[in-house]
């Protein structure tokens, strides 16, 4: 186990290095001069050139890259062009909001998606199954931006029971709608996933064995079937959590949620390369970390898995 974790951490470094290289290359392939945006689009060529030089953008790309890596190794992600502030504190300052939303979103996915998936799987082909499948289809197909606006309109404006976006320092009434929007799309997916996995599991011999013992349907579902579905669900959950943690851009945009996703998008629009790279690396770290966590979780969920 320890060896495994060490190996995975080693891989993590490799992955992050790869991510850094790819992001850096992409950032340099994207047309546009960060200095121009930094200076303002009306800025004169001369002042842009000076800022270009000041930002070190006139150095050879490999020099910039090595310099960047060297600083990243020292946890110095550089200065944001746009906000004239150090990148890492900027990300860390915004991360708690994203983390809160991500966890809440995953929570909604689970508490909405799992019961629906179970309902659908235990009555395949029934009207319940069809209703739930329509629900999942709708939540899956509905663009989060649109869904978020609808929620805001209905529960913020029409029946004003929730705030119209904003963070409110993490007060639950502010968290509710974004978490719901974030979680519902996933919930539909989870319902489908769980239905598919359970339809695969329920005909299994060990489920038949459990039934032959005379245990109740609840026990069969929760003790025998669901734990076997967990590996699949946890894999997805881990991916989602990583993905959510890495920033849920659209939701954060709709709900004025001050997370790293929104920040990253702004950074991309503004060619704020240090902030883009910092966010990407941070996000990659979270995603890879979530995957390692999932792998470790496997050993608890499935006794057959050993590292």
């Amino acid at each position: 186990m320890t060896r495994y974790i060490i190996r995975r951490l080693g891989w993590m470094v490799v992955v992050l290095f790869g991510v850094a290289v790819v992001t850096f290359i992409i950032a340099f392939l994207v047309p546009g001069d960060p200095a121009r945006l930094y200076a303002g689009s009306n800025a004169s060529p001369a002042s842009v050139a000076i800022i270009h030089h000041q930002l070190g953008l006139d150095r050879p790309v490999y020099v910039q890259f090595v310099d960047y890596l060297w600083r990243v190794l020292h946890l110095d992600f550089g200065y944001s062009y746009r906000y004239s502030a150090p990148v890492l504190p900027a990300i860390l300052q915004r991360f708690p909001a994203t983390a809160e939303l991500a966890v809440a979103g995953v929570f909604v996915e689970v508490i909405v998606g799992l019961p629906i998936g179970i309902l659908a799987a235990t009555r395949p082909g029934s009207i319940w199954d069809r209703i739930t499948m329509v629900f999942t289809f709708v939540t899956l197909a509905a663009p989060p931006f649109w869904l978020g606006l609808i929620f805001l309109y209905v529960f913020g404006a029409l029946i004003p029971i929730f705030p119209l976006g904003g963070y409110g320092n993490g007060a639950p009434q502010y968290l509710f709608l974004p978490a719901l929007t974030l979680g519902l799309g996933g919930a539909g997916y989870y319902a489908r996933l769980l239905r598919a996995v359970l339809l695969d599991i329920l005909p299994k011999d060990y489920i038949r064995t459990a039934n032959a013992k005379g245990v109740t349907p609840g026990t069969v579902m929760f003790r025998h079937a669901l734990p076997n579905a967990l590996t699949v669900l946890v894999t997805q959950l881990g991916m989602d959590l990583g993905y959510f943690l890495a920033g849920v851009v659209v939701i954060e945009t709709v709900f004025a949620w001050p997370g790293i996703g929104k920040q990253a998008v702004d950074a991309i629009f503004n060619l704020d390369i240090p902030l883009v790279m910092g966010t990407v690396l941070f996000g990659a770290l979270l995603i890879v970390g979530a995957n390692v966590a999932v792998d470790i979780a496997y050993t608890f969920i499935d006794p057959r898995v050993r590292y």
Binding site: D205, R208, T209, A210, G214, T216, T219, P303
Partner: protein, 350 residues
């Protein structure tokens, strides 16, 4: 014999498939007596497993029991509520399955799975646990105290099947339905499991229904045997009698087609030509007639009833083997071709 503990009457179980209704079990009736060991033999698709699953109403989707009675201690299991049948399952009638690898839940500890069989029927956690160790010891799992904490994948195939048997025996059921319990095992392990089942049958008086395709298994373990073909019972009787003097041509052909390890000479096997019928559209008359060497006109149209052919022995056939021997020289046949004996409608292709 005493009164039957289980009476099955005209059981019919069907599967609604896209290309038609599969009549997997089609009018099966039999009695099971306390403490006896009944073998149900048949090839794949003959309906023997579905019969066993139907008894406990464990037929998987899209299967459905469409008619019949399963009387256990004079109560019809098919009419019970879900709650009532759950109480019967595992307590009065237990079932063990073919593949112990897939039949044990991989994520639950072996001991827990045995415990659960008792706890589902009201035993306390501590009692169940103590009995689990006792049971595992009884089915000859060494170091049962530590093995209870193992997950199924940590056990060998034989041990897993022993654990399954322990689970089946946990509530000292009156009936143990064993669905091909040794098929997935190596012969040496199979032999041990069969011995174990025989011992338990003797010691505990549990009635065993042994479902198998292996004639040798039946020969070793069972006192009575039912032969199934295409969803129906074609022959039934005491084991010695059936093996000595099978009256249904299918039973006879089956026995002739099995090579024996103790054979002294190399005899050509007598194969049964053709293949098992499509149960969505079974042949009219006797279902075996397209493959039967001794068929006569009636076989094509009239369905034979399961009738006494000898003391305690019944067969569903218009031309029993006694008649086939007498009239068609059955024992001189080299290969068993459809209609080979009678000359009626010979010469179909495979």
């Amino acid at each position: 014999m005493a009164t039957p503990i289980l009476q099955v009457r005209d059981l019919r179980t069907q599967f609604a498939m896209p290309d038609g209704i599969i009549k997997a079990v089609d009018g099966v009736s039999f009695d099971l007596y306390p403490g006896e060991s009944l073998g149900i033999v048949g090839e794949s698709g003959s309906g023997k497993s579905v019969t066993a699953l139907s008894l406990l109403r464990l037929v998987p989707h899209p299967g459905r029991i469409v008619s019949g009675e399963v009387l256990f201690r004079n109560q019809d299991l098919l009419q019970m509520t879900d709650q009532e049948i759950r109480e019967i399952r595992g307590r009065d009638i237990a079932m063990i399955f073919q593949d112990p690898q897939s039949s044990l839940n991989p994520v639950l500890r072996t001991g827990f799975q045995v415990d659960e069989a008792m706890r589902a029927h009201g035993k306390s956690k501590a009692d169940a646990h103590a009995r689990t160790i006792e049971l595992l010891t009884k089915v000859r799992i060494p170091a049962a105290e530590s093995r209870v904490k193992d997950y199924p994948h940590q056990l060998s195939g034989g041990m897993r099947q022993r654990a399954m048997i322990a689970m089946g025996l946990a509530n000292a059921p009156a009936i143990l339905l064993a669905d091909e319990p040794t098929t997935a095992l190596d012969v040496t392990v199979q032999a041990q499991i069969l011995e174990l089942l025989a011992d338990l049958n003797r010691e505990l008086g549990t009635a065993i229904v042994m479902i198998t395709h292996n004639m040798g298994v039946v020969a070793g373990l069972c006192s009575r045997v039912m032969v199934m073909y295409a969803g129906q019972i074609v022959e039934e009787g005491p084991v010695e009698q059936i093996f000595e003097s099978p009256q249904h041509p299918y039973t006879w052909s089956l026995l002739k087609s099995i090579p024996r390890v103790d054979a002294l000479r190399h005899e050509r096997l007598r194969s049964i030509q053709g293949m098992a019928p499509d149960l969505a559209d079974p042949p009219a008359g006797c279902r075996f007639h397209p493959r039967c060497p001794f068929r006569i006109e009636e076989c094509f149209t009239k369905e034979p009833k399961l009738l006494d052919v000898a003391p305690n022995q019944r067969a569903a056939c218009w031309v029993t083997m006694d008649r086939a021997r007498r009239e068609m020289g059955a024992d001189t046949l080299i290969d068993i071709h459809p209609g080979a004996g009678s000359g009626v409608r010979p010469g179909e292709e495979i």
